[in-house]
């Protein structure tokens, strides 16, 4: 599978999330040769981990499905999963890229029957659910994973577990001798669609994410709301597995704060507004959402969503950045402490569950890689003519919502196509 043919008329897209898939498909559908690489075993990225996405509150499986169909029907697109870039040299129209391919230990024979998963017993934290539950050591990353092929966790290689999995496979798809491979390719342009990661909430000391079990992050809440998630769609408190009905959301948890992330992550306000609708969906008038905010930044057309949520009597808005969170030891309830800006009243209010609307930061620290690219002060890739044939797509360039990320990816694709056309002499 590693005999990838690439030339200086090929576009390399790094990252198989919604932005990377979009950028790769737009270029491939314009007739360019594209290689899409993804470091995880499946495409999908962060969007595949959402329960619903705004503004239309549809399920990401829908958007994923459309993209997967486009991928399957396109002959110009090559996909390499479990692959990372280790170095980039060269210049516009002629980059030499070194890729590192990690073994999946499962080959193309796999029919995703799941016999290997039934055979093994070892379990690891489930990355797809942000570690909220466990998965087997032979696993399918998630229901809509692409490729639909199981993975053997490298941590069981060389153990009896691995042999059990191999023995259980009815189609001889497990190859435990697969090794890490290195691959050098030449490409004309590179699109970095490396995306974002949630800000590490442990760093926000006063909010006690590391010591109060019922303080969780917005991405974890998203998994909880998903019927295919770790709690089967129930909003359960981590401390006692009781249903949480009175829930507080803390905005700007990490964002807009010079101690943590300087930038506004832009989508967290809307994401919280969306998550209040999950509470209504589960409990009707029984549930309560309380949003602590500095100011609500529901950008452009999401103002509608804001107005709609504002009219919901079960949703309360409190204009205040919470100063600290403590815990009521007898009930396990987190208590929010602070001062309300509208009236300057002091509050200490307990809730069943607290959700930190954590900010977005770049998932890749480019300063630590031998890659020459211009970054802004938050570590996102800056648009700079000095980057030559390298472009950012989606959240590699800034904190964006899905809509904007996809638009941005299309634009980056067009920029990469222009580079390739120049190389081919089709464009001056």
């Amino acid at each position: 599978m590693t005999n990838v043919v690439a030339t200086n008329q090929t576009i390399l897209v790094v990252g198989g999330g919604i932005s990377g898939m979009t950028a790769a498909l737009e270029a491939a559908e314009c007739g360019k040769d594209v290689i899409l690489i993804e470091k995880n075993p499946s495409l999908g990225g962060r969007v595949a981990q959402l329960y619903k996405y705004f503004p239309k509150m549809c399920f990401p499986t829908c958007g994923m499905e459309i993209n997967l169909r486009r991928i399957k029907s396109n002959r110009r697109l090559r996909i390499l999963t479990l692959t990372e870039v280790t170095s980039v040299t060269g210049d516009t129209g002629n980059y030499s890229v070194t890729l590192k391919l990690s073994p999946r230990y499962v080959n193309e024979n796999c029919t995703a029957c799941g016999a290997c998963a039934n055979a093994v017993t070892a379990e690891f934290d489930n990355e797809y659910n942000y570690g909220l539950n466990k998965r087997k050591s032979a696993y399918l990353p998630f229901a809509m994973a692409y490729p639909q092929r199981y993975v053997i966790d490298s941590r069981i290689i060389g153990t009896e577990e691995a042999s059990k999995a191999k023995a259980a496979c009815p189609v001889n798809a497990i190859d435990l001798d697969m090794q890490v491979q290195e691959l050098k390719i030449t490409v004309g342009a590179i699109i970095w669609a490396t995306g974002w990661k949630p800000y590490d909430a442990n760093k926000i000391q006063p909010y006690g994410y590391d010591r109060i079990p019922n303080v969780i992050t917005s991405v974890e809440f998203e998994r909880m709301a998903d019927p295919l998630g770790p709690t089967g769609g129930k909003l359960l408190r981590p401390s006692d597995q009781k249903e949480a009905k009175n829930i507080a959301f803390i905005q700007c948890a990490g964002s807009r704060d010079r101690n943590y992330l300087k930038h506004c992550s832009r989508m967290c306000c809307t994401a919280t507004l969306k998550q209040t609708t999950y509470i209504r969906e589960k409990y009707g008038d029984e549930g309560k959402a309380n949003i602590y905010y500095i100011d609500i930044r529901a950008i452009d057309r999401f103002e509608d969503l804001y107005q709609k949520v504002k009219q919901d009597p079960t949703v309360t808005f409190i204009k205040s950045k919470v100063a600290s969170i403590t815990q009521d030891k007898s009930t396990g309830n987190p208590i929010l402490n602070g001062v309300n800006t509208e009236g300057y009243q002091r509050y200490s209010t307990p809730y069943d569950l607290v959700v930190l609307a954590v900010g977005m930061e770049p998932s890749v620290d480019f300063t630590q890689l031998p890659i020459n690219i211009t970054l802004n002060e938050s570590g996102f890739i800056e648009f700079d003519p000095k980057n030559g044939g390298q472009f950012a797509a989606g959240c590699a360039s800034d904190a964006l919502d899905v809509n904007r990320a996809v638009q941005h990816a299309t634009a980056s694709s067009l920029r990469a196509i222009q580079v390739i056309n120049k190389v081919a002499g089709a464009e001056a």
């Binding site: 006063p206 101690n259 950045k321 919470v322 100063a323 001062v339 300057y344």
Partner: protein, 210 residues
């Protein structure tokens, strides 16, 4: 100028920017409230820092400068550590208190103000704080009876310090100073001059604008 415009004039903000240490930061406050929620003395002051900043911007000169709020600050620096915009809140609070004092608007009978005044006067005498004198002054700050009561209460501590030579009773008579008290006074005068020139210039700018 119409009344409506007058109402929204931020002359006090400009005055604070010109005269109060770190006053130029006041306009940067985004009213999130973390400072107020983080202040260990928060429940005791009338106006938390966040509100003081808003009052400055709302031109409430009298209310701010006569307030006892900023005199409650104990310099724990919790607010500075947590402020998402890195405002030097502790310094601004002390700056405001100092400015109110200079303007003669600070409320009388504030223990922290009294302490600050005695500390400064004591320091100015010899360029070094005479802890014995300052301590005694504070004991007797609120009258003879309370002074004797406090002294008796602290008797054991005092004797212990004497025994271990942590306190020299002769210091009460005058004590020792720093090497170059003249130089120190000259430096302080120069600082005062610089401050006054800065304030005068700022006032000039303010008047030329309005």
């Amino acid at each position: 100028m119409s009344q409506a415009v007058e109402k929204y004039r931020n002359t006090f903000l400009r005055e604070v920017e010109a005269n109060v240490e770190e006053g130029q930061w006041v306009k940067m406050c985004m009213q999130c409230g973390v400072c107020s929620g983080s202040c260990p003395l928060g429940p005791h002051w009338e106006h938390p820092p966040q509100e003081i900043f808003m009052m400055i911007r709302a031109n409430k000169r009298e209310e701010v400068l006569t307030s006892s709020s900023m005199w409650f600050c104990t310099s724990c620096y919790n607010c500075i550590a947590r402020c998402p915009r890195e405002l030097p809140i502790t310094h601004i609070m002390h700056g405001l208190a100092h400015y109110a004092q200079r303007q003669g608007l600070a409320p009388k009978e504030l223990p922290t103000a009294k302490f600050a005044k005695r500390f400064w006067d004591n320091l100015l005498k010899k360029g070094r704080v005479n802890e014995l004198q300052l301590g005694l002054q504070l004991y007797f700050m609120n009258g003879l009876a309370e002074g004797i009561k406090t002294s008796l209460k602290m008797q054991k501590v005092g004797l212990g310090m004497l025994k271990t030579k942590r306190m020299d009773p002769m210091e009460a008579l005058g004590g020792h100073g720093c090497k170059d008290i003249k130089g120190l006074k000259a430096a302080l005068n120069k600082a005062k001059q610089i401050e006054e020139t800065k304030a005068a210039k700022a006032l000039e700018r303010l008047q030329s604008k309005s």
